[in-house]
Symmetry: C2
Subunit: 230 residues, 2 copies
């Protein structure tokens, strides 16, 4: 059985080497920074995870997940996102509150519990932040995700997920009236300061890159494909 801490290392590795576009391995320093610990600590832990066959790693080399490590990391994320969905849908928490609570709940291990929870929620596909929920095999839909900042003027986009789950960011979106599944048209793109003006639900808003860089979108014409290369 994995400890709390070991699970958090695996989860971090999934985030950094699978969800991060085009990266399949990370260094000790990057992982340490991500987890908020010192490189020395990661150095030790990674040796331990290697002994358990959860990561690939050689002295002074890069770290990547093994099949088993990837699966276990995905399970942590599955639990996290299912609990977030439960908290929002059944206990009426707002989307900026659920992440914190799920950080603890994700470490409750029972397989049966999490599958019952999944059924109770009617097998949700996405969590409150628009992130896909891995299935019980650890498989997940990882779409090519572009941000609103990459969008073109005049085109229409659907907001499918947020890249930042922090309470501050999510509350700001609430204030702007922006929510997952909203469709917005870019009516202006200022190249000087990267300000983007969008129109949606009859409203008009000016957004800075601090927002547009953290909103994942799909262009309206690719909606069915759940993938957008155009």
């Amino acid at each position: 059985m994995l400890s709390f801490t070991e699970e958090n290392y695996l989860k971090a590795l999934v985030q950094l080497t699978i969800f991060e576009e085009g990266v399949t391995e990370v260094g000790v320093n990057r992982l340490a920074e991500y987890l908020g610990v010192k490189p020395a600590t990661v150095s030790d832990m990674v040796r331990k995870l290697k002994k358990k066959a959860l990561v690939n790693y050689e002295r002074y080399g890069k770290i990547s997940l093994t099949e088993e490590g990837r699966f276990l990391g995905m399970m942590v994320i599955r639990r996290h996102r299912l609990w977030e969905t439960f908290l929002q849908q059944k206990l009426d928490f707002s989307w900026d509150e659920v992440h914190e609570l799920a950080e603890d709940l994700e470490h409750i291990h029972s397989k049966k519990l999490i599958n019952r929870l999944d059924a109770f929620l009617d097998h949700p596909e996405f969590d409150p932040h628009g992130d896909a929920i891995p299935n019980r095999e650890g498989e997940i839909l990882i779409p090519f995700r572009r941000t609103l900042n990459d969008g073109e003027s005049g085109k229409r986009y659907k907001i499918i997920a947020v890249k930042d789950n922090s309470s501050e960011f999510l509350k700001y979106l609430d204030k702007l009236g922006i929510a997952i599944n909203d469709e917005a048209t870019i009516i202006n793109k200022e190249s000087f300061d990267e300000l983007i003006t969008i129109r949606f639900n009859g409203k008009e808003r000016v957004l800075s890159p601090k927002v547009t860089d953290y909103l994942f979108v799909i262009c309206a014409s690719c909606l069915k494909a759940k993938k957008c290369d155009c």
Copy 2:
């Protein structure tokens, strides 16, 4: 903030000094036995809890809870019993499965979460084992509880709670067809081997003291009083 372990010590102390009839303090050995650790370990931990003003204790003396310690211990039990109720009512777990899972869930700290859960469940009074759920002030109904083994032949009793939450015991009750809130009449009490025969719901069962000692009852004539001295 209390650790997992500290919370388990406080919970154990509530069980031993508040729920156990007529006991207000315990020794190091008893607590160690209850928690499944060595006395030396308890000796250390109790000094730590005293420094945090959660227990009253002097070297070579008995251990009891302070006001604060009692409250925090009660909160652990409140969370435990609310989660048990959730698991049974919403996720369809059976009463012999919920205790194990609640052992982990009880350590999730958010006050808001537990109060939302309470509301979601419609403020239940009792958990799946018939145990009263402490309210948010840490208050609890502690009825005078007698077991079926103390009952008299010919009288009618309602089964209100079980004293043992183990899966084995609860499954045996399922097999006998005995459930919380059943009403049964004692039709025979054998003084030689303490076997008790009851009739309930048209069935008749012979019970050993291993069962009758672990079923809390109230006599049918005192049902409204929720307390039974007769």
